[in-house]
Amino acid sequence: MDFSDSPQEAAFRQEVRSWLDTNAGLLNLTSESGSSILAVTPMVVESARAWQAQKAANRWAFIGWPEEYGGRNASAVQQLIWDQEEGRSAVPANMFTIDYLAGMTLATHGTVSQRKQFMPRMLDGSDIWAMLFTERAAGSDLAGIRTGAVRDGDGWRVRGEKSWIWCAEYADWGTLLVRTDWDVPKHRGLTYFLLDMRSPGITISPLREMTGSEQFGRVTFDEVYVPDSLRVGEVGQGWQIAVTQLMHDRLWIGSGHGGWGGRPDAMFDRLLRLASSTRTGGQAALEDRGVRQRLADFYVELEGLRFTGYRMMTLLGRGEDPGPEASVTKLALGNIMQDIANFALELLGPKGFVSGTDELDSDAWQFAFLEAPAIRIGGGPDEIQRNIIADRVLKLPAERRADKDVPFHAVPSDIG
């Protein structure tokens, strides 16, 4: 039992590293301090495009894609090695995440002409894609979306609103999930389209998050025309196609990237340093028995997360699907990050709520505190992760659902 690279993995890592060492340095980028997510600015977008093009030219873009589309058919472990190595350099790697996911989805479900039209431009960074799935009416109940499309000649008209769309204002294209049939149960009435984000009738407004930044957007559709040739799969098959995309997304996030606190283990060192620089009860906080007990528990949980990550990699390497393990880490990570951020502010005392001084990194801790709720909510909140574990791992009896087998038009909604 050992978590070092196998000889083949080590060789691959070496190859990746030497390419990155030569090439990543060519970009000069700094990420916004304090954020685990690279803040998106026009400059970041341009650098990201350049980096993607550079990778594509050397066949390092989307190595997990099939070879025929410019990928390397890389295994999940190789992909992870690539991401770990790329993550070490300050390159804007996540901007094309949706491109990667949309391409994987097209490779399975798209037509030949759709693949030809879109995949090369995803690969080389020409187009930025957004995922237009989630909306206010649905949230965790994704299949309950209410943005609709109706037939109009040889195309469709879309009406409704999508929310919490990452990178909406920079996106050229989007993967769009809409309701095309209101008379069947929710999962059966959805259809999946590819959408030109510059189509008439689209309005994009920034969504200001509670951290104060605006990385997400709201997209409204006022009779937006989509040609039927941009439909992926059959009418009513949208849910299965969206699930393909989300499955790749889950693997992506679960195997350690996806922005959220990429390296939570580094947090412990910072916390320990903070505890030795702050005081409580007339002594260094680090000398306080209560503080020490909490710190030890944090360390134990973070180590558990780290090693669970290695177990996931082992499963990936053996060709098994680590789905449920991804739910464990998602659930644990969100909660521990929130607990740690709370605890750090508590250690800071009155300094903990005053912003702008950046004494003892207080601004960074405040940002972590404000960002923490998102980790527990985005990508399926705690409750959904627990449901996944209860259903798929523990095989508990299914929960009763009021909308099961009910035509969607009869399912109550809280708005509209």
């Binding site: 039992m1 050992d2 978590f3 070092s4 690279d5 196998s6 080590a10 990420s31 301090s33 304090g34 472990v77 770990q84 070490r88 606190g261 390296r263 939570p264 283990d265 580094a266 947090m267 060192d269 910072r270 320990l272 340093r273 505890a275 030795s276 680090l286 028995r289 020490r292 007990q293 710190l295 030890a296 360390y299 134990v300 180590e303 558990g304 997360l305 090693f307 669970t308 290695y310 990699m313 082992t314 499963l315 390497g317 053996r318 464990v328 659930l331 644990a332 960074a364 801790w365 940002f367 972590a368 409750e383 449901n387 574990i389 209860a390 523990l394 095989k395 508990l396 009896p397 929960e399």
Partner: protein, 406 residues
């Protein structure tokens, strides 16, 4: 990357589980309550017959090379199954004794005791012991000269029935400590059975009166004694892990079977989520236990952190699993007939035998923060130094210094 049981280790686990289960599983443990014999002789005979006792001493009796590796993961797998079924065999007790001799004993002591423990001809045990054993207030037997002990021991797992015990004692002059091997079959050892919370397991206390004993020489160095305790808790944490999984399984089975308010109670979200949380705690603990056993396997210095981490994690997971399992069983769980209380009882004995989590958290933190004021985060680099040959960890360290918050 290979951080899981191998196929062969999984097969071993399945085999052990099948044998214990064929013997009656938990019913076998239950029959130990008030039994005349300290352990289940028939089941133990099967452990010996299958060669599983050989795992009590993974490095092998004749090992002259401390850094030879192998066998610890197998030990963990077997111990996990013992924990799962509360199996009434002295597998863990003998493993703990063997580890102490392996780490603290002389070459001569190893070749004298380990072959017997490995074959199962001898059964050994290690006295209850915690990181605060160094506290001068700690009540311990005392040594006169080099080879005589007086006083009363802390609880001995399977002390009634074990052939030898490893016990801490205060060395005569300087107040220093060491571990001694005592042959419990000596006439001048008085063994008294102890009544404990853990009714399906036998514990005893030994009283010595100028009893002959041998010091495990290296154990007189505090560092080595600590290492022996760390190794012990890693092994014990696998027993906690197995017991926790048994609780989860039992709770899920019951929640799927028991109908109330017109549906199986396992269809209620409150229970589903409670059980999902139990699963998460166990999985995180398993990851920490795997790391713990891998540090033993590689004779790595990182054991000084990994042991405490596995310990705290597994204790927490078992406490949660045993408590919630009983709760989910409702009134049925509160009866003597239901097995849920047996795990709740075992949960406490496993945790407290090596000191509770308060002392382990403190131990972990003092080791993490031991290196001077500005050097608190030296913990990481210290860890990395000790894993010098481990390329992966070194890289991890580089990444760590990159930092999540910038």
């Amino acid at each position: 990357m290979d951080f899981a049981y191998s196929d062969a280790q999984e097969q071993l686990r399945t085999h052990v589980r099948a044998v214990i289960s064929a013997a009656g599983g938990i019913a076998r443990a239950r029959s130990q309550d008030g039994a005349g014999s300290p352990w289940d002789g028939d089941l133990w005979a099967q452990f010996r017959q299958h060669g599983w006792t050989s795992f009590v001493s993974p490095l092998g009796a004749a090992s002259r090379h401390e850094r030879q590796v192998g066998g610890y993961v197998e030990l963990g797998a077997v111990v996990e199954e013992v924990g799962r079924a509360l199996a009434p065999v002295p597998m863990v007790a003998s493993s703990l004794a063997a580890q102490a001799i392996l780490i603290g004993g002389s070459e001569e002591q190893r070749s004298r005791w380990l072959p017997g423990l490995s074959s199962g001809n001898l059964v050994g045990t290690l006295a209850s012991l915690a990181p605060d054993v160094f506290d001068s207030e700690c009540d311990l037997p005392s040594a006169t000269g080099e080879d005589k002990l007086n006083g009363v021991t802390s609880p001995l797992l399977y002390g009634a029935g074990a052939d030898i015990a490893i016990v801490p004692a205060r060395l005569s002059s300087e107040g220093a400590l060491g571990l001694y091997v005592v042959d419990l079959r000596n006439q001048d050892v008085c063994i008294d059975a102890l009544a404990t919370l853990d009714v399906t397991r036998s514990y005893a206390r030994a009283t010595f009166a100028a009893t002959e004993a041998e010091l495990l020489p290296a154990s007189a160095e505090p560092q080595t004694l600590r290492r022996i305790i760390d190794a012990a808790v890693v092994i014990s944490s696998f027993e906690q892990l197995g017991a926790a999984e048994a609780c989860l399984r039992m709770a899920c089975d019951y929640a799927g079977r028991r109908v109330a308010f017109g549906q199986p109670i396992g269809a209620f979200q409150s229970l589903r989520h409670r059980l999902a949380d139990m699963y998460c705690a166990i999985e995180l603990a398993r990851s920490n236990c795997f790391y713990g056993i891998s540090t033993l396997e590689r004779s790595s210095e990182s054991l000084r952190l990994a042991g405490a981490v596995a310990r705290i994690s597994a204790s927490q997971a078992l406490a949660q699993a045993a408590t919630d399992n009983l709760h989910i069983h409702g009134g049925v769980g509160y009866t003597w007939e239901a097995d849920a209380h047996l795990f709740l009882r075992r949960c406490k004995s496993l945790e407290l035998y090596f000191g509770g989590s308060i002392i382990w958290r403190e131990t972990l933190l003092s080791r993490l923060a031991s290196v001077s004021d500005e050097g608190v985060s030296q913990a990481t680099s210290e860890l990395l130094r000790s894993e010098g040959e481990d390329e992966f960890l070194r890289r991890e360290g580089e990444e760590r210094s990159g930092g999540f918050l910038g």
